[in-house]
């Protein structure tokens, strides 16, 4: 503990207190520093005597009818950055990426972004309307949606276009939860949007669809008909259960690989038209202002991106010797093909091990097993997808886009790991 507290370079106390809090949660500081196996001088009190839990009966099978994480994991929660917005009904709480593993995000930890708070819709009152340039405008109940043929299960990442948006002007937030935590990856159960559009019969002039939510923000986005007919889903399940209320219960739109704002929650209406609707979320917001004052619009696709989740500021290194570097990579253009990791700020790279499924437009887990001798590290990861796109450096991105774009910051992240294991969000050059 004391080693972490006496951080070099006069890092501010607040950061240290927080770091200690997180490190303490993991059980130890950089205690057993030193190479090689540690020999025990005395029997481990966790072995001798035999622990209490091995002797007495525990709780019954249904003590917790809807299971919760272990109480020892109570700090693994979504967190809000309250200064970002004026009200928590239009705000975001971030996925604790530093504490998660594998490719799938647990439902209760999926980041939440609302623009008008969480709508509560009783399932029997849910309605989905399809109209506009169609032959037969239709209304569906939730039961109808669930009776549609062609139900599918697909894992997709959902990333807010503003993920890492606070980092355009420089390193700002200490923790991948805050720099990269506007992403989650779950298994959706739903029906292709195409089925609904075909049931209504899209007129030949139809080129766009407007997706609208039933929440108090009336969230709307224009989506090209081609995408709507390709792989969008009308989803009612996530990771095997009903959508969580904060994810749009009972029905949300899934728009694979495209910015999260388009995945309209509490989906109530699909309108077919021949032009985009120029809605607030595709004009005032979710357009990318460049340095010359011009702005890109309809930047729907999320480019390839990755981040090392361990080590990271909330998950410092605690031991010398063998360590597992872990991270996530994703691309809205296709499948993650390769992830390289650098420990020296991008000078030299080693290809990481992709572990578990690597499927189109889904989050992919990677690992690099490494030995740490206590030297300072500048940890980076670089994702590549099957279109040949390589995650750019922040400098390369800024050269083209400037620093005012807010959205689509997919630049390479650097974590500085100090000799005492403490880890900080930095930029290198």
């Amino acid at each position: 503990m004391s080693e972490i507290e006496s951080s070099p370079d006069g890092a501010k106390g607040a950061v240290n207190r927080r770091r200690i809090l997180w490190a303490a949660g993991l059980g130890a500081g950089l205690a057993g520093v030193g190479a090689g196996r540690v020999r025990a001088a005395e029997p481990d009190p966790n072995i001798v005597p035999v622990p209490e839990w091995s002797k007495t009966l525990g709780a019954g099978v249904n003590a917790n009818p809807y299971g919760k994480p272990s109480p020892f994991e109570k700090d693994v929660v979504r967190r809000e950055v309250t200064w970002l917005t004026a009200s928590s009904e239009s705000s975001v709480s971030f996925t604790p990426l530093y504490a998660l593993d594998g490719p799938i995000t647990p439902n209760g930890l999926c980041f939440v972004r609302h623009h008008g708070g969480e709508a509560v819709i009783p399932p029997d009152k849910y309605r989905l309307m399809i109209h506009g340039m169609v032959d037969k405008p239709l209304v569906f109940t939730l039961e109808d949606v669930k009776r549609m043929p062609g139900r599918v299960n697909r894992a997709y990442f959902l990333e807010c276009a503003a993920n890492s948006g606070m980092e355009w002007r420089g390193a700002q937030l200490n923790g991948c939860q805050f720099t990269h935590g506007m992403i989650h990856n779950v298994y959706y159960t739903g029906v292709p949007l195409r089925s609904f559009l075909e049931a209504a019969g899209v007129k030949p002039k139809g080129k766009w669809v407007l997706a609208e939510g039933a929440d108090a923000a009336g969230m709307t986005r224009s989506i090209p008909l081609e995408k709507a007919m390709d792989d969008c889903l009308v989803a009612f399940g996530m990771n095997g259960e009903a959508l969580r209320p904060e994810q749009g219960y009972p029905v949300r739109l899934v728009v694979p690989g495209w910015e999260g704002n388009m995945w309209v929650k509490w989906l109530r209406r699909i309108k077919v038209g021949d032009e985009p609707w120029g809605q607030r979320e595709e004009t005032s917001k979710y357009t990318d202002l460049l340095a010359n004052g011009e702005a890109r619009r309809h930047t729907f696709v999320m480019d390839a991106k990755s981040v090392v989740t361990n080590p990271s500021p909330q998950a410092p290194l605690l031991h010398k010797g063998p360590n597992v570097l872990s991270g996530i990579a994703w691309s809205g253009r296709g499948t993650i093909k390769r992830v390289d990791v650098s420990l020296d700020g991008g000078r030299n790279w080693t290809t990481a091990r992709i572990e578990g499924p690597a499927t189109p437009m889904a989050m992919t887990r990677f690992y690099l097993d490494f030995d740490w001798n206590g030297q300072e590290l500048m940890v980076q990861s670089r994702a590549m997808d099957d279109t040949g796109y390589v995650q750019p450096t922040k400098a390369a991105l800024r050269k083209i886009r400037g620093v005012n774009s807010i959205y689509h910051n997919n630049g390479i992240q650097t974590w500085l790991v100090r000799g005492n294991g403490e880890t900080e969000n930095v930029e290198v050059g």
Binding site: A14, S195, P256, Q279, N348, W349, P392, N425
Partner: protein, 249 residues
Amino acid sequence: MSKSAEALFLALALAATAPVMAGAAWAASDAPKVATAPQAAPAQPPASLPVPKVTELGRPALKEEIAAWNIDVRPDGEGLPEGHGSVSDGEQLFLDNCATCHGEFGEGAGRWPVLAGGRGTLKSERPEKTIGSYWPYASTVFDYVHRAMPFGNAQSLTPDQTYAIVAYLLNLNDIVPADFVLSRENFPKVALPNNPNFFDDDRTTSEKEFWNANPCMKDCSGPMKVTARAAILDVTPDEGKDAPKGNLE
């Protein structure tokens, strides 16, 4: 444990290890068969999804139902309701319904959004994106104010009230004069100054350099140094700290 319960247990255990059930019937008595017919889990198929048959599910939407939900307004004016409203009526409505958050002149109270001003700031270090400085379409103001504002009382404004408030917001942004009356008829003539500065996503050409089959792996640069640190700003959430004004959109 009873015999049949045991069999069920076995079936469950086997099912858990068999990668995928091929949709076969697997009665408990049939359990061993399930285990001998495992199928490889199919890789997640590519983007294109299977096409189910058009069905008889859903029912025709009534005219009144469509009218109740069909609230979107397009840049060409499609979707605008009948009605009109003046800048001066809009001023009063804005003071009553909007100014607590957005300020009397749309300047934004505290951290609530700014709605006016900001012209000429888009190339600056701190761009201020407002209706007058950034938004491409006046229709968006009408659509959004009616659909989502006032925050917490959405879809409560009548068409005339919405026209009046939009007229006031356009006036605050120096787009229409103080005696202007906005209506469905003259709406398409209202142009916002920043409209020409938007262009469609061009990343596949303007950022072509990011497609690179062979990125550098060794000695890609000289020794790297830390050039910026988050700890200096120290805005990560933590108890008892002053926070800066946010830039999340």
